[in-house]
Symmetry: C2
Subunit: 244 residues, 2 copies
Amino acid sequence: MSSSSAAPRRGDRTDAAGIRPPMREALVAAAFQLFLERGYEQTTVDDIVALAGVGRRSFFRYFPSKEDVVFPDHERCLADMTAFLAASPEDADPVVRVCDAARLVLRMYAENPAFSVQRYHLTKKVPGLRAYELSVVWRYERALAEYLRGRLGGRPDGILRADVIAAAVVAAHNNALRSWLRSDGRDDAGAAVDHALGYAQSTFGEVPIAPRDEAPEDVVVVVSRRGTPLWQVVREVETAFARD
Amino acid sequence: MSSSSAAPRRGDRTDAAGIRPPMREALVAAAFQLFLERGYEQTTVDDIVALAGVGRRSFFRYFPSKEDVVFPDHERCLADMTAFLAASPEDADPVVRVCDAARLVLRMYAENPAFSVQRYHLTKKVPGLRAYELSVVWRYERALAEYLRGRLGGRPDGILRADVIAAAVVAAHNNALRSWLRSDGRDDAGAAVDHALGYAQSTFGEVPIAPRDEAPEDVVVVVSRRGTPLWQVVREVETAFARD
DNA sequence: TCCGTTCCCTGCACTGAGTGTCATGGGAGC
DNA sequence: GCTCCCATGACACTCAGTGCAGGGAACGGA
């Protein structure tokens, strides 16, 4: 009964990078159906492969572990991010660049809102999945940090700054992403992430407030009472620079 | 042969919070000896308990999983950090406070440099341990972020800022900690962490550069060419404020 | 001193994840 | 039509982690 059920035929794939075998999708679908029905830990790999109508060994051929089936597209997204950063123009602002790289992750989540929200509720309550997600996030953060190290490595504290900026960008992105997921995908994810990344960018960025090509000899004067908290001074400076 | 070997007697413990049973330490020692000899994944829990001369079931009573034996004191440190943050005075600078909280982790590592360096080399090469360490670091970061949320929650973007500051502080701390671990514990860990946390603090801190009680009507004038990168302006402001 | 209670430890059996290996069967290429 | 390739499936195995029951030492009370 197991060999003649819904097992996929061989003809409908190309095995190249173009079309992936449907067994992968069948396993993801079966896994999520059971995870949502009975919970993650109450579902065994045997249950999943039985529902998908495939052999148990095939599961581990497509997913190195049971956790991987919950994050089926992060590997591809991580490769995309690495390629995106590697293709950065030399004169790009590094902080802007890593913010744009972070937006790739948001785009992946936003491509399939229902799936992302389901997965969010799953990872929120299963400690093992939370730990797995952390290791995924860590790899994104490492990709950003490696790029920033290459760009900031020469400056004083370049490596320290690279690590801190990467962590801050990831935290800002995740803050917005999670608030979007909590809204069940109803809020505007792009706007929230733009806002959060804008905060990170304004904290670390080196973007000139005014375009470089206009009136470089203009002068701005900031007056501040000694004793004012530094953040308030910075905010005033920023406001003064933005005012045209 | 197994019941009459090196099993610890009952008399040498008090079972209160004062003296912990030596079995815990015996398991940690046996585990690390084998981990360093053959590697983490080549060592089974049966190997560990055989060397420690205790029953297999006892291992899992002291350590919920095989990974936990590698990080035997993080649970205590996390409790210390939570208590430290909960005991914060109302008028403390939140950013300074979380930096001090992060120093608790460094202190734990510095209490036993040889052990910390061994563990560092172990976690560096074993993916499973790296994932476990990430979940530990995540709990520290959550503790800092929760405290900051409580302090900054009312302000605009308070929650976002709390998450970003917590991530930045953890990243700065870990950057210094790891560079100290890479030096095999020879460098000055305290100085490196102070420097790294100082960077994070100057980026996010609200510390007045000049003491509040002196000449609050003093005036500082900053002049900057329009088009100058913002970070450079901020650095100039900072320099001007620090100059007395 | 003796007994009962209470822990702590141990052995045993079991589940479930993950892996190595080999047989098979069908499709692609010749 | 034949052969080779390779994805798949079946089987057996290791090992982490858990539930359960039994046993023995310390402790308290009589």
